[in-house]
Subunit: 239 residues, 2 copies
DNA sequence: GTGGTCAACTGGTCAGACCAGTTAACCAGT
DNA sequence: ACTGGTTAACTGGTCTGACCAGTTGACCAC
């Protein structure tokens, strides 16, 4: 199928180039970034475009800008938020970093279990809607990509039910990853996607406010993807 | 003590103003943002300053910009990452939103326990350093602010030890909150800060690779702050 | 040594022009 | 009635070139 063409503006390119330099370690924390005028000259673009890119890098906590002083690279590992996870997961060449991938799956497990618990605690009324979503999954058992979408919606409901904005924001960053590498992801969590019974079990537990059960079923479900990723990473590590 | 003066640039002001409009709901998801030229005129600033602010909002996933089309407000609850937690926690007037605060503490609990476990699993060598940090805490039992800093360093070591970038990024966002409201925070987690024994117990568990113990002690330690915040929030809710 | 001055950086702001993509209304031609 | 081309009026994207405003360090006078 045809897809919309991604346009890249000049400031986007500047942003990406500097971001990759920082992620790759070519520009180290504390190092000074060339001045805006110099950067503009080096990249053969307007200073305004450079400034826009620098503002974005600053917003992403990758650099520190101070009027009058030189702009410096920050240690993004100590300052950035989860919104950078997806970009961090992918090396500039396009393949995934195994260690980061494992980390993401662990994060997913850590919050996923508590999301289920809080949802059961605070929003038992969502049980019915959750079960419907699970039923939809049962009706689409063959289309892995569709399943992935439905599973995402299932969990999105749960996150809403947990009534926790912090979880919501972390969830957003994880979903961001899912959508950027949906093909790989659907494979990795295929086991989870196909287990409609587990989804229903969670829905029932939520509906009846059985917080421990909701957490238990969620943990049991989520851990599979984590283990799959770990196995794949190990295999890559052996090479 | 004297503090450095915070300077605010024009584009910062534009950014904050629009961000608050979005956070407060005054600008709803899907709504169109006035065009750059109009915004510049309304705010009586240069268009370049407006563009820089819009680029930052775009990076923060609060708006969507498309060449030729109108710029639109996104549903930040469905797109933003954890870097916005601190800003989201504080209402424009300056006080804290109880519901968000509870959410942050739950997130802290969810990842904190697994951080301890992974640290014990992957970096038992850190045990000694952790114990030293705990000892430092014992030496500064009276200075709550100092304790808070040391506790932060203790946990930062643990996050390093967990060898999980995803946890690191979430941790960064939480620390960001700690530092923006350090006074309040030190009070809320005072119980945790003063319990040096618990910190040492975790350090020992890490050193000997006792993953379950590390997790258990961490959970026991962290849950106190969570409960404190919940109590305070309940008290506010009663009013 | 203290404090003033100045030049040479840095980033911040600005006005005004033009390029480029999107949309909708209009207008052929089929 | 539909298709496709044209045009005008938006939108954001890029650019030039200027000036304002902090920071630093070298230099100088007291």
């Amino acid at each position: 199928m045809l897809k919309p063409i991604k346009k890249k503006s000049v400031s986007d390119s500047v942003f990406e180039q500097l971001r990759d330099e920082i992620f790759s370690g070519a520009m180290e924390p504390g190092e000074v970034v060339p001045s805006e005028r110099v950067l503009a000259e080096m990249l053969e673009v307007n200073r305004g475009a450079v400034r826009e890119a620098l503002k974005r890098l600053e917003q992403a906590r990758l650099i520190s800008i101070q009027h009058g002083e030189a702009t410096r690279v920050l240690d993004f590992q100590k300052t950035a938020g989860t919104e950078l996870l997806a970009e961090l997961l992918m090396s500039p060449s396009g393949d995934l970093k195994p260690k980061v991938a494992i980390g993401v799956m662990e994060l997913r497990s850590a919050i996923g279990t508590d999301i289920a618990r809080r949802c059961a605690e605070r929003s038992p009324g969502l049980g019915e809607e959750l079960r419907q979503k699970a039923q939809e999954m049962a009706d689409n058992k063959k289309d892995l990509e569709k399943l992935r979408e439905l599973d995402m919606e299932f969990w999105s409901l749960m996150v809403d039910g947990s009534q926790n904005v912090a979880y919501r924001l972390v969830f957003n960053s994880i979903i961001d990853i899912y959508e950027k590498i949906s093909g790989v992801m659907a494979q990795v969590v295929a086991d989870e996607l196909r287990d409609v019974e587990a989804h229903i079990a969670i829905a029932d537990a939520v509906e009846e406010g059985r917080v421990d059960d909701a957490e238990f079923y969620a943990r049991d479900l989520i851990k599979r993807g984590e283990e799959t990723v770990r196995k794949i990473a190990d295999r890559i590590g052996e090479k």
